[in-house]
């Protein structure tokens, strides 16, 4: 099971957006921006790796977005957002100084404690990297607590990769087996070409003592999980982060349910054993 944070609280407080000022923005790809946020008043929240926040664009609405901050050394909230709807477009248009609403953190965390002493295999697809970034930093900063660390990152094209310079710096500065791949390269791309699943058979980890964390589109997570299982990693040792529409974030509005589970309450991190059958049913 993924780690669950137990909390008992009133919903009104949990559903009240708190003003945070944008302190830095960066355009990552043609449709993706990263915002850094600090509270207008008081101390910032400290999310666990894998938790999400509800971000509020004033007058437009709220969306759930994973935390991408490096909470090992930095209190700033970091959110990487793809501009696909009214709210995310408004958030991506934020400039330094813009105040947006934040509430959270919600959901459970990557099982970074259970993974201690074990190999860690992280597989990210496209904008799936930011939700894994807090867990990656946790492993890097506590490197001796973990066994081998494999990081596989794939995207459709090189320009769909986010945090690429930072990812490469991890390779130079830490003991990490990093491999990158794109579905289609461009003239500057000298790396591998193909699907991220291709990187799993040669990856250096011991399936008996490994934990796999995957974030990407559902179809990608499905095939990556399958490929990890082909390497004899049990479904109970493979973790994915699920995504559905959310309105409240606190288990009351019903929107994020997938069969027997409410993602905001029981997830968003699940073992593959918990969700494999659910994701196999179309439109469940």
């Amino acid at each position: 099971m993924a780690q669950t944070l137990t909390e008992t609280a009133g919903s009104l407080e949990a559903m009240t957006p708190v003003p945070y000022a944008v302190t830095a923005t960066r355009q990552d790809t043609y449709d993706t921006w990263t915002l850094e946020l600090e509270p207008v008043n008081g101390a910032p929240i400290v999310p666990g790796p894998g938790q999400f926040n509800m971000l509020y664009a004033f007058g437009v609405g709220e969306v759930p977005i994973s935390n991408a901050g490096n909470f090992e050394t930095d209190e700033r909230l970091v959110h990487t957002i793809r501009a696909v709807g009214a709210v995310t477009k408004a958030l991506c248009a934020a400039e330094v100084g813009t105040v947006i609403g934040v509430r959270g953190p919600f959901g459970n965390t990557w099982p970074i404690e259970d993974a201690k002493g074990k190999d860690v295999v992280i597989v990210a697809g496209g904008i799936g990297l930011p939700p894994l970034r807090p867990a990656i930093y946790h492993v890097l900063k506590n490197r001796k607590d973990y066994g081998r660390f494999v990081l596989l990152y794939g995207a459709r094209t090189p320009s769909d990769m986010v945090f690429l310079d930072e990812v490469k710096s991890w390779q130079s500065n830490y003991d990490v087996d990093l491999d990158l791949i794109v579905d289609a390269g461009d003239t500057d791309w000298k790396g591998k070409v193909g699907l991220v699943t291709k990187l799993i058979p040669p990856a250096n980890f011991d399936a008996d003592v490994a934990k796999g964390f995957i974030v990407g589109p559902e179809i990608m997570m499905k095939f990556v999980a399958q490929e990890l299982m082909n390497r004899d990693l049990p479904a109970e040792s493979i973790y994915v982060s699920m995504e559905r529409t959310m309105r409240c974030g606190v288990g009351l509005c019903g929107h994020c349910q997938v069969g027997p589970t409410l993602i905001c309450r029981d997830g968003a991190v699940y073992t593959w054993a918990e969700v494999e059958k659910l994701l196999a049913v179309k439109e469940l």
Binding site: T8, P17, G59
Partner: protein, 370 residues
């Protein structure tokens, strides 16, 4: 504590409660239906009315007696008192370059729900589990629930769409009430009344009453026994959880999707459906927003809207979501069934889709296969 009330004593209930400055909400006739609304006198109860229900059909008819509770359930449920159809949670105002939030704490008057059916008592208990039984407490609901006082009325006149006996939620309320009445029409018209809480007993003590004799309790038992027998068992709940989960791709969902209009009536009429949307209503100036929580329905496309479109685009997926939630996955999520057998989803479905029939159809072909 138990006693017998004459029909006229119902007026005393309303009087005593109103003297305490409580709201009294009860069944009353409006627009050719029995609705729940505030009453000032027991004379506003649907005296001498019955409801005739069928899939997609609801009619009021006169009875040949003066029964106060000679009907089953109407289009509304107590959900509208506890989980408000629309509640303003926050006001968010622009302030300099930032914004300020004013929280709207619900302030409600003490309210007596007079005439709560056993299936509805069960529905309230289910919503309690969902909305105030988990890690996060819905304070608006909690405030309204804390201020509620439940006067239940056991059922003697189940409608054709009622199946509480199948769901184990009626026709007799076992707990979850402050007072419970059973209307006895056999012999002299009277009510057996029992207190379920100290507060209920206090109210009962203020009412003109007779002691309950053995004949009264026997007569009351006969009322609910007959109702149970009349309904029979029309949905086998013993294995329905596993049955539906084992048949998620059943062809019956294609069939029901041809009939279902995805109109959301069933979810709005359902006393347990709790899904809500959280929307911002902007002021014309653009300087302030009301954050409003409203009833939502899994039958709309927007309900599952994400980037790239809705998760449940087809009607059959939405019907399946609703059906498995009521009878299977609700149990996984909240350790209770999500259906109380009130029959509203059948009566108020414009095309008369019957949850019992759909489950039976899935069961029939499943059994044929095995």
């Amino acid at each position: 504590m138990r006693a017998v009330l004459a029909p006229e004593a119902l007026e005393a209930i309303v009087e005593v409660l109103r003297r305490r400055d409580w709201r009294v909400v009860a069944p009353t006739v409006r627009d050719k239906a029995i609705v729940y609304d505030e009453i000032a006198s027991a004379a506003e109860l649907p005296i001498g009315w019955k409801d005739v229900q069928a899939p997609g059909s609801y009619r009021l008819e006169r009875r040949d007696d003066e029964a106060r509770f000679g009907y089953a359930v109407g289009p509304q449920s107590w959900k509208r008192e506890l989980l408000a159809p629309s509640a303003r949670l926050l006001q968010i105002e622009r302030a300099n370059e930032s914004f300020e939030v004013v929280k709207n704490a619900a302030e409600t008057k003490r309210t007596a729900f007079f005439g709560v059916r056993p299936c509805e008592v069960a529905a309230i208990k289910i919503q309690d589990r969902v909305l105030i039984g988990g890690s996060y407490t819905d304070e608006d609901y909690l405030e309204r629930r804390t201020n509620s006082f439940v006067i239940a009325v056991n059922c003697g006149e189940p409608a054709a769409n009622c199946f509480c006996a199948s769901m184990g939620t009626g026709p007799k309320a076992e707990d979850g009430y402050d007072l419970v009445l059973t209307e006895i029409l056999d012999g002299s018209h009277r009510f057996l009344v029992e207190a379920g809480t100290d507060e209920g007993a206090e109210l009962l003590a203020e009412l003109p009453q007779q002691p309950a004799e053995k004949a009264d309790t026997t007569a009351a038992e006969k009322v609910t026994d007959a109702a149970r027998k009349r309904m029979g068992i029309t949905l086998d709940r013993s294995d329905v959880h596993d049955l539906l989960l084992a048949n998620l791709e059943h062809e019956r969902y294609d069939d029901v999707a041809k009939r279902c209009l995805a109109c959301t009536n069933c979810t709005l009429a359902c006393p347990t459906c709790f899904c809500t949307a959280i929307d911002d209503a902007n002021s014309l100036s653009g300087e302030g927003n009301d954050r409003v929580r409203k009833w939502d329905s899994c039958f709309t496309l927007q309900y599952s809207e994400m980037h790239g479109g809705g998760t449940r685009r087809e009607t059959k997926s939405r019907y399946r979501q609703w059906l498995i939630h009521k009878l299977s996955t609700w149990h996984d999520q909240f350790d209770t069934l999500g259906c109380v057998g009130c029959g509203r989803c059948i009566t108020w479905c414009p095309v008369g889709i019957d949850i019992r029939e759909e489950v039976a159809a899935i069961r029939a072909t499943q059994e044929a296969k095995s």
